[in-house]
Symmetry: C2
Subunit: 318 residues, 2 copies
């Protein structure tokens, strides 16, 4: 079975771990979000790609969900001693090595997709991890700070400001000019199923879909497309999906997110059992919907979610 | 007193520490060798500038003579796990931060001299440290390896090969096109004395003198120029000066190095007491010469060497 998964960071990575357990023999291509990439200290940092790579490769800081296990922060402390910031982004020494290798390869002319493949040579995530694009896309968030409206990098909104102020607009800068990375459209065209994990519908999956050609390829492909709601009981399971959904005029409900994607894009939608009441409305909108437990408490629970998504895809196909 | 010192790495840095003790109120400008700079992992590494900065700023690994005290090597281990080399160059985590800051500033368009000044804002070395040039100069060493003649970067010759094969030629690539960094010629013109510490006469002081304008400025300045022999008893006190001296056809003796610089450049020359026999020949060549203890055993001993050099400069001036 060939599965394509669009993935953000923690949610996408953990879902993938469950999916691999549920379907160990599947051929999985992960289209990773790169719109939250950021240049820090002159280095190219790809938080979502790395979270997928570290999680599936066994290098992740489990409790934290991002960054490396057994991490130390000597480089960061030294940079602070030089007065060089930002200090709000927690890059550890092990993590720095990844960004140094990536930046060196990019500087030598390799596209991000080739760099990601090279990094995965070490991590062996058991999936094919492809960035959504080799071009630079950066999600900016418009906010009002001290009475002034300004745009900040998504990481600044999320990590520095901790999403504490409303997101007035969310723009994946550069997306319009970006091209899908090599292999992305081919993987979608050859897929047996496309899955949207419970990743952020705006800044993760939304950013991937904003790369011209990707949304169209998924909508036009003759394969079931099934998503899992990142909203449970009216709130995001983790992260700040509610804040960025508000910026695009979408309510933070399992139903509203399904309708935001729309029946032109997704064929199936899983909501959590607490959101069972949303099933009829989603179904009425032409999206096959089912309520199942959607909390990724551990890999077993997550594998059951993945199995339910594949089962729903099977129903769609039949 | 305004003193200009041309400096390589360990020898130059330790001499400077002695000089500062001997003349605490002196206004010292250090023209640092940058011809052993190297790009590693996409980062700009300036071993000699850093050795001076760390030594005078209290951050040096004392026993080793280069690199940072209390160093860890997490980043390096991770780079090795990615299969990214070279592994033969020992960059520690603290040291990496310096190279990250430097590379980021260079990437933002600052010249190396401005970057060095910014790094010294943290280290406060008590001297003005100026790279010999803002342009890229790299010493390459011609060697025969496996029957084939090829050129290697100086660091590869010194650190990887440990100078274990003869140096057939030593070329400061790029020096001819390089311009002295801002402030270098001005400092020489305004100096009361110019000192050559017991640094390598070929790859350190020789590389600095290879930048067009610097040798001429020193030769033409109406100030005493005094050097200290890096060769004691027919061998370099440390390092591989003998190997690279052979490449330029100079014997490894205190006398031969003095004559290599020549009376057109230096006015005074200190040799170690064990080389007292060299004094008449150097003197005959028109260079005032004296034999004093030249082993930098500790800062006190080094301060006495610096004082002897300044005393010799005073004699020249009189």
């Amino acid at each position: 079975m060939r599965i394509v998964v669009l993935a953000g960071g923690i949610g996408g990575a953990r879902f993938l771990r469950g999916l691999k357990q549920a379907e160990p023999d599947a051929d999985i291509t992960v289209v990773g979000n790169t719109a939250d990439d950021i240049h820090l200290f002159g280095l190219k940092v790809c938080p979502d790609l790395d979270t997928v790579m570290y999680t599936l490769g066994g290098g992740i800081h489990e409790a934290q969900g991002w960054g490396r296990a057994d991490e130390t922060f000597t480089v960061k402390e030294e940079l602070a001693a030089y007065g060089v910031g930002p200090g709000w982004f927690g890059l550890g020494d092990r993590d720095f090595a990844t960004h140094i290798v990536r930046t060196q390869m990019l500087g030598a002319g390799y596209p991000l997709s080739a760099v990601t493949e090279a990094l995965c040579d070490r991590w062996r995530p058991g999936v094919r991890l492809v960035p959504m694009t080799d071009d630079r896309v950066e999600t900016h968030v418009a906010v009002e700070l001290d009475g002034e409206r300004r745009a900040v990098h998504f990481q600044e909104y999320w990590v520095r400001l901790r999403a504490s102020v409303p997101a007035l607009a969310v723009v994946p800068v550069g997306a319009e000019q970006a091209k899908p990375a090599p292999g992305v459209l081919e993987a979608i065209a050859e897929a047996d199923v496309v899955l949207f994990p419970p990743s952020n519908p705006v800044v993760s999956i939304g950013a991937i879909l904003a790369v011209p050609g990707i949304r169209e390829a998924i909508a036009d492909a003759d394969v079931p497309v099934v998503g899992l709601s990142p909203i449970v009981g009216g709130a995001p399971v983790r992260g700040m999906a509610d804040k960025v959904l508000a910026a695009v005029g979408v309510e933070s409900t399992a139903e509203a997110v399904a309708l935001h994607y729309g029946s032109g894009l997704i064929d199936g939608w899983l909501v959590d059992e607490v959101d069972e009441a949303a099933v009829p409305a989603v179904t009425d909108a032409g999206i096959r919907c089912r309520a199942v437990p959607l909390m990724m408490r551990d890999t077993d629970a997550t594998a059951r979610m993945a199995a339910a998504a594949l089962e729903l895809a099977q129903e769609v196909r039949a």
